[in-house]
């Protein structure tokens, strides 16, 4: 499902110095596989997810998702590819405040070009928010907001779901619930999952746990 090859990413610091963030010779996630990615703060986890999602471009290397090297796609096609193929759950949920729970889910579908209100409702019901469809994010609890974010990420039937520390802002009691919700949804939809976390309790639930420091040579050379 996901294959990274020779990914390199550098940043130019304000003083002009070049900082290498990522140097990954190879990394992959099989279809339907659920992988947890751990790493220290500043190790490049979020940058890696942005590159996989096509939000950022690597300086070099291949990012193949379902056989397509999205690093070589023009931006507009990459945007459309992301909308249709990749789901993204953010650490801070990133729901749009002016939109209801249902509209937030529909928003993801809009950019994917397939607005399906029935599916949006079904997804929200599946995450336990069937009675909160018209509620704005401010009227939902933190846990409920994250559930809307999960429903939104799955709205376009993606092949790969990227979750960037989805439990970081959730209390311990709800962490387990959120992770189980994401894993269960991915299983039901046959979606590959790459979940970033620095919480050991979360990582323990996964069969495959990867540490960025182990395959990112940029970190290793620091």
């Amino acid at each position: 499902m996901l294959q990274l090859k020779d990914i390199q990413k550098t940043y130019v610091e304000p003083d002009g110095a070049i900082l290498k963030i990522l140097d990954i010779p190879a990394f992959g996630v099989a279809p339907g596989e659920q992988v947890v990615l751990m790493g220290q703060s500043g190790s490049g986890k979020t940058t890696l997810l942005h590159i996989i999602a096509g939000i950022s471009r690597p300086d070099s290397g291949e990012v193949r998702i379902a056989g397509t090297d999205i690093a070589r796609l023009p931006e507009s096609i990459r945007d459309r590819f992301r909308a249709r193929t990749i789901g993204y759950v953010f650490q801070t949920f990133n729901l749009l405040a002016g939109f209801s729970a249902l509209e937030n889910v529909l928003l993801g579908m809009t950019f994917g070009g397939r607005s399906d209100a029935a599916r949006a409702r079904t997804l929200l019901e599946r995450v336990g928010l069937g009675r909160r469809l018209t509620h704005k994010p401010a009227m939902l609890s933190v846990g409920e907001q994250q559930r809307v974010a999960v429903a939104r990420a799955l709205a376009n039937r993606p092949k790969l779901l990227l979750a960037d520390e989805p439990t970081a802002n959730v209390d311990r009691g709800h962490q387990q619930q959120i992770v189980e919700l994401i894993r269960q949804a991915c299983r039901e939809e046959n979606v590959a999952l790459l979940l970033v976390t620095h919480t050991a309790e979360v990582a323990e639930q996964f069969e495959r746990v990867e540490h960025l420091e182990r395959f990112n040579q940029a970190v290793a050379s620091l």
Binding site: T46, T47, H50, A53, I55, S56, E75, S76, D79, R80, R82, A83, R84, Y88, F90, T92, N94, L96, A97, G98, F99, E103, L106, L107, G108, M109, T110, F111, G112, S115, R152, N156
Partner: protein, 494 residues
């Protein structure tokens, strides 16, 4: 979910700022709408007024424009007069074949600030372009043999309170001039949307019998006329009102009063000597007993050689097979070639006036109001642009969900367009509402008929104009949205 809805949600999210921006745009559009409608109404009113059912005006030689303004709109100073005999050329003389109708008008007197027009009942047979003709809202048109009767325009009736049966005294030469003998209102005209709503029409026969309204006859004419006058056996009240200067409104008020005083004295002596005017007493400010009992006896009309008219309204006859404009050409040539009078085409004069003076001013006013709308458009720019820093994250989320740069740019442009359109709708309603509310006052003060639903074709340009303006002012914030660095905005603190 459409991009329109996403843009609308964004507007709703910043409801207060969005509302204020739209209201400022609405105020600008309201001004544009008001100016456009007023511009059209004023132009229409002038053109309407220039075709009150006649196509030419004959008057003394001089300024054509002044003749039109004075005769059609009752504006400007009165022009010189022309002899009655000239008017007769149109009814019984050499010009008769060119004319379908000729209506005499005598101007110069006032009732309060409104012009008094001495005319014949035929005036009300002229049909304005609406084709409906004049109708009375109350009473009827005066009869030619009821000398001291009058018909008042609708505006005059509503502002002065004159109604059927009311008596009023016109003033000579100016609103505060010497008060004439009273007339009785027998009719109130229904509104016509023309300057005639602001006029007082009196029977021309009564008008001639007022102080200073009779021309002193030429010596030769006087001798001839004396015989005719005697035939009236002293019933000729006109002599009482026969000064040396006919409708001479150029005299200072004091002179007129003094002259009138002397004339009244002389006339009273005559009456006393002849004992023929027992009923016809006057009461004026000099203490003379001049009160008329118009309803109780007949006055003798003023001899024709003492009559003058200010203008003659002509409805020309069209010869079979000849265009109306061409059939009157010989008439125009003959009149203008002579030394007595000139003929003017009111439509042409008004068109010239509009093109030369009114239109540039109107366009200047319109340009200023459009500038206000542009400033309001800049307000939209500022409002959206200021919101961009707080919306960067929102835009980044949409981009992360798969929105293209073009999509987020379009959402911002649509937001700008929606704000402008909302302002435009509000402004349209506000502008028309304002005109609707002010319509009675405008009608009364300016004689321009307006209503809420009066609209102009130019208003159709407002909506596409606003869309273009919104697209222009929304472009800068849209570019900011386009250039948003998604990765940076996503990792920034929410």
């Amino acid at each position: 979910m459409s991009l329109w809805k996403i843009a609308w949600r964004s507007i709703q999210q910043r409801a207060l700022a969005s509302s204020l921006t739209s209201v400022s745009m609405g105020l600008g559009v309201a001004l544009v709408v008001a100016v456009l409608v007023l511009q059209a109404a004023v132009t229409d009113s002038f053109q309407h007024g220039g075709g009150l059912g006649y196509d030419m005006i004959v008057g003394a030689k001089g300024s054509k424009l002044q003749l039109v303004l004075n005769t059609v709109y009752y504006l400007s100073s009165p022009v010189e007069n022309i002899p009655w005999s000239y008017y007769k050329e149109f009814t019984d003389g050499k010009f008769k074949r060119y004319v379908e109708k000729a209506v005499p008008c005598c101007l110069g007197d006032y009732y309060e600030e409104y012009r008094v027009v001495g005319t014949t009942p035929e005036m009300f047979e002229l049909k304005p372009p609406s084709g409906k003709g004049y109708t009375c809202a109350a009473g009827e048109i005066f009869h030619s043999d009821d000398f001291f009767t009058a018909v008042v325009g609708s505006t005059v009736a509503s502002t002065t309170g004159l109604t059927v049966g009311s008596k009023f005294q016109p003033t000579h030469g100016a609103p505060g001039g010497h008060q004439h003998d009273p007339f009785t209102v027998v009719g109130v005209l229904a509104p016509t949307g023309t300057p005639n709503d602001r006029a007082v029409f009196v029977n021309i026969e009564g008008f001639y019998l007022l102080d200073n309204h009779a021309k002193e006859p030429e010596p030769a004419e006087e001798t001839q006329q004396a015989d005719a006058d005697h035939a009236h056996a002293g019933a000729d009240h006109a002599e009482d009102h026969a000064p040396e200067s006919a409708m001479d409104h150029e005299h200072a008020a004091e002179d007129k009063d003094a002259a009138a005083h002397e004339e009244h004295d002389a006339a009273d002596q005559d009456h006393a000597a002849e004992g023929e005017h027992a009923e016809h007493a006057h009461e004026d400010e000099h203490g003379h007993d001049h009160e008329h009992e118009h309803g109780e006896h007949h006055h003798a009309p003023l001899p024709e050689n003492q009559r003058e008219v200010t203008a003659i309204l002509l409805l020309t006859a069209s010869a079979p097979g000849v265009p109306a404009g061409l059939s009157a050409m010989p008439l125009i040539k003959q009149i203008n070639k002579g030394s007595v009078a000139q003929v003017v085409l009111p439509i042409r004069e008004i068109r010239t006036l509009l093109d030369l003076f009114v239109a540039p001013l109107e366009w200047l006013l319109l340009a200023l109001t459009v500038l206000i709308v542009v400033v309001a458009g800049v307000g939209i720019l500022v409002s959206i642009y200021n919101s961009m820093s707080e919306r960067r994250r929102e835009i980044a989320i949409m981009r992360a969900l798969g929105a293209s740069r073009e999509s987020v740019m379009l959402i911002v442009l649509l937001e700008s367009i929606l704000l402008a359109l909302a302002g435009g709708m509000l402004g349209w309603l506000l502008g028309h509402g304002l005109l609707g509310v002010l319509a009675p006052w405008i009608g009364q003060e300016a004689g321009v008929n307006l209503a809420f639903w009066h609209a102009t074709l130019l208003e159709l340009v407002i909506i596409p104009g606003l869309v273009v303006l919104a697209a222009v002012v929304g472009f800068l914030p849209a570019v900011v949205a386009y250039r948003t660095d998604v990765a940076k905005a996503l990792v920034a603190a929410p």
